[in-house]
């Protein structure tokens, strides 16, 4: 029988995982266990901290229901969502950048804000208009999502709304974490956009507003310079935004 101690336990766990039939799951778990153990070793995690961590994770799971997905929030504020999006959506320069993960089923819908007319064109990297693209925007005026199809010149127009700047929920574990680490809890105003067209990669992104005080400190690390646009105030108090979406060709 093998002696299990702080020097041998990692190899013992990896040896057991070596029999995982699915090679991708084996690869994921092998890396995860090594990093989890390295974290505990580097920090010399105490038993009290271990217990506190388990309670935090349990509370995070229990806070999730329906519209509230607390682990997705945790992933956002730890930068894991942005890292995952960035790794999986590498596009040539000139394409519109992806900025958010496709909403999870049941993820909180955006709150409505001032009405906004969103106009623009969908085209490819060579400047060719893409007709028949489906543009979906949340929040829409009077609805969770609104949809439009681009015309033959790639043009589209949508009755959207601007989801006003708001704080992430502060009544759960993620709120406690943000308070304890003195990290900002606010997300800037934005609209969430998905663009799909046959033969092109789907684009999930967010458009932010020039001058928003929360751009630098976005709690979810979603802002990119190219996704910040000028929202023009109209005489009737509504907003107008012109924004073009440049799609990347899908691989054959």
């Amino acid at each position: 029988m093998r002696q299990l101690n702080q020097d041998t336990i990692t190899q013992a766990v990896l040896a057991r995982l070596a029999h995982t039939p699915d090679t991708r799951l084996k690869e994921l778990m092998t890396s995860l266990v090594q990093h989890l153990h390295a974290f505990a070793r580097e920090t010399r995690l105490t038993e009290a901290e271990w217990r506190h961590g388990l309670e935090f994770l349990t509370n995070t799971g229990q806070q999730s229901q329906g519209q509230r997905q607390e682990f997705a929030l945790l992933s956002d504020v730890l930068g894991l969502s942005t890292l995952t999006v960035a790794m999986n959506n590498g596009k040539p320069a000139g394409c519109t950048e992806a900025a958010v993960l496709p909403a999870l089923p049941g993820l909180a819908s955006d709150q409505d804000g001032p009405a906004c007319q969103l106009r623009g064109q969908v085209r490819d990297l060579q400047g060719q208009a893409i007709g028949g693209a489906e543009i979906s925007v949340s929040p829409g005026r009077g609805a969770e999502w609104v949809h439009a199809l681009s015309g033959s010149q790639g043009e589209f127009s949508l009755d959207a709304a601007l989801a006003e700047a708001r704080a992430l929920p502060t009544d759960g574990p993620v709120g406690q974490f943000l308070a304890a680490t003195a990290c900002p809890a606010w997300r800037p105003a934005h609209v969430r956009v998905t663009v799909r067209a046959r033969g092109y990669e789907a684009l999930h992104t967010e458009i932010f507003a020039e001058g928003d005080p929360y751009l630098e400190g976005d709690a979810a690390f979603g802002v990119r310079p190219a996704l910040v646009a000028y929202w023009q105030a109209q005489a009737d108090g509504s907003l107008a935004l012109n924004y073009d979406f440049i799609l990347n060709k899908a691989m054959a």
Copy 2:
């Protein structure tokens, strides 16, 4: 405004955590974020895997209630519990080894098994008897825990029971994980023991039974050679076990 991408996101998160007032929390989170991001980078985590991981963690939190602590089970099967115990309970050679974390409040109690008379002596590394030590054992005969105090020669005797070998719960996320990774789900038969004495480090450990078929493959990585003992069958079908506990002096 900074460009956030897969090369810059980790530093952006760490820069934000740098303002954490509690220096230990800052240290823990800095290490955790680096390892979490390194895991995602090394494996090139996909969006579907990210989503699956969040669902797994959410289910793990939601499975926890009352006697069932699913995140503690997950920590056990990933070897994190054993690593944490080993790092925090380094003792001089000759001391009885720690093998389990102090039970969480509400952690499932051990199931009762055959009655067992547990006898032994509590002493220190120099062989000096420790009187007045409190020995607590679970499962006890007819009760969750039974307690005894050692006499002036360190001797004690307890009416315990042997928690029979059993599988970890298979109806939750940890059970699914063990099935998917072809890892063993069984824990060998054992008694759980805590020994406390003034001036000595508290000892939380488990004693296993020689010949148990699950010693090598303990799902929770709790077995150590020195913690495996011979349980003697008695004429009436009960068991008898002699085991001495050697405590380490507490630091002044």
